[in-house]
């Protein structure tokens, strides 16, 4: 099983590296307490925890752990490892989930070797999804003191595969774990993630049968898929939703975007259908402020009632010009847009730039690399910027956490007390229907306030050879959670 990732991983620490470039190659080395059943609608099922109970008030979760599980170094898995991993995630994990986890995680203790009791600060509907994601891996207790997180010695897990070799900038290889605790699994002998930075090269290598998959839920675009369909009958094009969107963030603390009318004008003038055509050749979904395929999103019919989703572009532009004039920008307006460099990020932004020109808003594009754009957006040193945004957990906590006042990742500095109150309320609501009622209220607030503008939600797309069997259907977070190759096998033992 060989596939491409576009960069090499900065370290082996899954608690820390949220990027797919680490998550995909490292995920299959580990198990979590609970995991997602990728063959059954991403239901949360037990992994190292056989079962779990949530206490009556919702603040205590008791995990019954599996016995007889061994780490790759031969040692036994016990509750101490799970407790240590959870503590580390909440304390020194990556900011993305730490900021969400910190909000709810209190402490955990082992009542015996195979029982873990977690105390939460407040009931949390999203807690289990956090633990099911690729980054919440259970590691060997104290591993960070024995091995540097850049050293392969760090890679001690219980997962279906174990470390084989790593050449920075070239590839990462793993081999089958012969003593995996799930009998008979995995089927594959091993896998290899190859670093290729360029989509043209990835696709060429796939066609030359040097890759089994273009990428995991990545790295195939429409023009390339057309070639596959025409010339390669044994290639499969996998498509599905993806928890990633075109994000046009406006700095709401300074003119002109502190004026809601200006933000509304931007939203009205952005031609989303056109952007989907231009940027992703139709492989995109219209959506509001949360992935449209989630039950927590507003229904499509309601979303289309909003002026910025109406089909008549001329009417929308006229309205946008009127709003700009009201806000005192009758003569037009020039803003600076920070944009991450790269063929994946530019087309959408250029399409919006062309739209805004039609209502008298001139965007001056400043192309930056990731480090610089992150630096400036973090400091609030921008008027607008465009970066695709993604989540690793399809949970409202993660989508809306980044719009809560004072949150580290709330770069546009949007702040609405009512929204924050609803945020806390939905976190504590376990019933999906009731929770969705709250999140829909929140989305209505955002659709009126418009802290940012979202052109479209991406589609996951990948190419693979039809020798590959049991590849799971693609879901929103398949880029990170694809079942660790546990059940995947290849016809005739050949994957390409």
């Amino acid at each position: 099983m060989v596939w491409a990732v576009h960069e090499y991983m900065p370290s082996f620490d899954l608690h820390y590296e949220t990027s797919y470039i680490a998550g995909q190659p490292l995920g299959p080395l580990y198990n979590n307490l609970v995991t997602l059943d990728v063959y059954d609608g991403n239901k949360i099922v037990g992994d190292l925890a056989e079962r779990w109970d949530v206490g009556d008030d919702g603040t205590r979760v008791t995990f019954r752990l599996r016995k007889g599980v061994k780490f790759h170094d031969g040692s036994d898995f016990t509750c101490a490892d799970a407790q240590w991993s959870l503590d580390r995630l909440a304390k020194r994990g990556n900011p993305t989930f730490t900021s969400v986890l910190k909000g709810v995680y209190g402490s955990s203790r082992c009542t015996d070797d195979f029982t873990l009791v977690v105390s939460l600060k407040q009931p949390s509907a999203g807690f289990l999804s956090l633990l099911a994601g690729v980054n919440a891996a259970v590691m060997k207790r104290g591993i960070d003191e024995r091995a540097d997180r850049k050293h392969p010695g760090f890679l001690v897990g219980t997962g279906p595969f174990k470390y084989k070799s790593h050449t920075p900038g070239v590839d990462f290889q793993a081999q089958r774990n012969p003593s995996y605790w799930k009998p008979g699994l995995p089927h594959l002998d091993g896998y290899r993630a190859v670093v290729m930075s360029d989509l043209t090269k990835i696709f060429a290598s796939f066609r030359a049968r040097q890759l089994t998959m273009t990428g995991i839920a990545r790295h195939l675009e429409k023009p390339e898929a057309d070639i596959l369909k025409k010339e390669f009958p044994d290639a499969v094009v996998g498509l599905g939703p993806r928890a990633c969107w075109d994000n046009y963030v406006m700095n709401v603390t300074a003119p002109p975007f502190n004026d809601r009318r200006v933000r509304k004008a931007i939203a009205l003038a952005t031609d989303r259908e056109k952007m989907i055509e231009i940027a992703v050749e139709g492989w995109g979904l219209l959506g509001g402020f949360i992935s449209p395929y989630l039950p927590f999103a507003l229904p499509a019919e309601e979303l289309k009632q909003y002026a910025q989703y109406q089909p008549d572009m001329d009417k929308r532009r006229a309205e946008a010009r009127r709003l700009l004039a009201d806000a005192g920008y009758a003569k037009g307006l020039t803003v600076e847009l920070l944009l991450r460099r790269g063929p994946l990020y530019e087309p959408g932004a250029l399409s919006r730039q062309d739209d805004l020109k039609k209502i008298g808003v001139t965007e001056k594009i400043v192309l930056l690399d990731t480090a610089t754009i992150r630096d400036r957006t973090l400091k609030g040193d921008f008027q607008t910027y465009t970066l695709p945004a993604a989540v690793q957990y399809d949970d409202p906590d993660v989508y809306y956490g980044r719009l809560v006042c004072e949150n580290a990742s709330n770069t546009g500095r949007y702040c609405n007390a009512e929204f924050d109150k609803l945020y806390r309320a939905q976190t504590e609501t376990f019933d999906v229907t009731k929770r969705a009622e709250i999140t829909r209220k929140m989305e209505r607030i955002l659709l009126a306030d418009l802290p940012d503008d979202r052109g479209y939600y991406w589609t996951s797309s990948m190419g693979y050879w039809n020798r590959v069997q049991k590849w799971p259907p693609i879901a929103g977070t398949s880029v990170y959670n694809f079942g660790k190759f546990e059940q995947v096998w290849c016809r005739g033992g050949k994957c390409m």
Binding site: E7, Y8, P10, S11, E17, T18, S19, Y20, I21, N94, P95, T96, T98, S99, D148, K150, T167, P168, G169, V170, D171, V194, V195, M196, S197, D198, T200, K201, A204, S205, R207, A208, R209, Q210, C244, L368, D369, T370, A371, T372, R374, D375, R376, L378, L387, P388, A389, A390, V391, Q392, R402, A408, S409
Partner: protein, 318 residues
Amino acid sequence: MVTYILRRILLMVPTLLGAVTLIFLVMRLLPGDAALYILGSDEASQLNKEALAQVRQELGLDHSLPVQYVQWLWGVVRLDFGTSYWTKQPVIEELAQRYPMTANLAVLSLLLSTVIAVPIGVLSAVKQDTFADYAARIFVITGLSLPNFWLAILIILGLVHYFRWLPPLDYAPFWVDPWLNVKQLVFPAAATGYRLSAISARMTRSSVLEVLRDDYVRTARAKGLHERAVVLKHALRNALLPVITITSVELLILFGGLVVVETVFTIPGIGRFLVDAIIHRDYPSIQALVFVFSVFVVVVNLLVDIIYALLDPRIRYA
């Protein structure tokens, strides 16, 4: 002569120091921050400030510039280039790992280019302003006119489209598996070698033209020697002398080409490492690469000058 060589070696020190200082300043004045890169590289990453401060401290980025500069220089003196910010491996190991690949590619490129360039250059000079000269020069100038990334991508797409084949992903040194080695590197080498051959062919042509007008060639002709003998025995030998003087220029161009071609062909050499390092603000790696490369260029220049001085009696050094 010995004094000259000693003086040249002493002069290398300020040159290297200058190169290192220049790149140090260019990199440190960049907006953006290595620490931000280390914290995460995907769109999903977000940040908190304590983590940032901690990483800055780990990297020594919290020291002032002069302190960082002196620390680095002191490291160089002890041949310790520090640890890569990005891979956390000692830079010297990173270089050692990638160097053979690039050296292999460079040698193959130079070989290919010389094989193409010398005959073309000689032909073009001997038959100056004839059809053969024009054809040769159009070939050469085309090599100088095609963007090398374009040529590289065309080669890849051509191979895949017509043969559904690409150079294999695995690298084997020439002495282990020569056939695999050639299969893997001959196409990228062609992409860089073509441009290089254009430069050498040009130089060969002007050099041969110049020599052909020299007195001793006239004498040889006057002696009634066959034109071919004149060209091969007398002119070529002397004409190729100036060609070696452009070796350092070629090295610079070759390296620039390798940066692009290694990126396009995804060859894990030091060219691609440098692109990655610039993108990741991996200061120690960039500084080390520039330093090593400068040493290389300076030493090659020195050798070329010494060889030149030894071979050409007209050059005297006071």
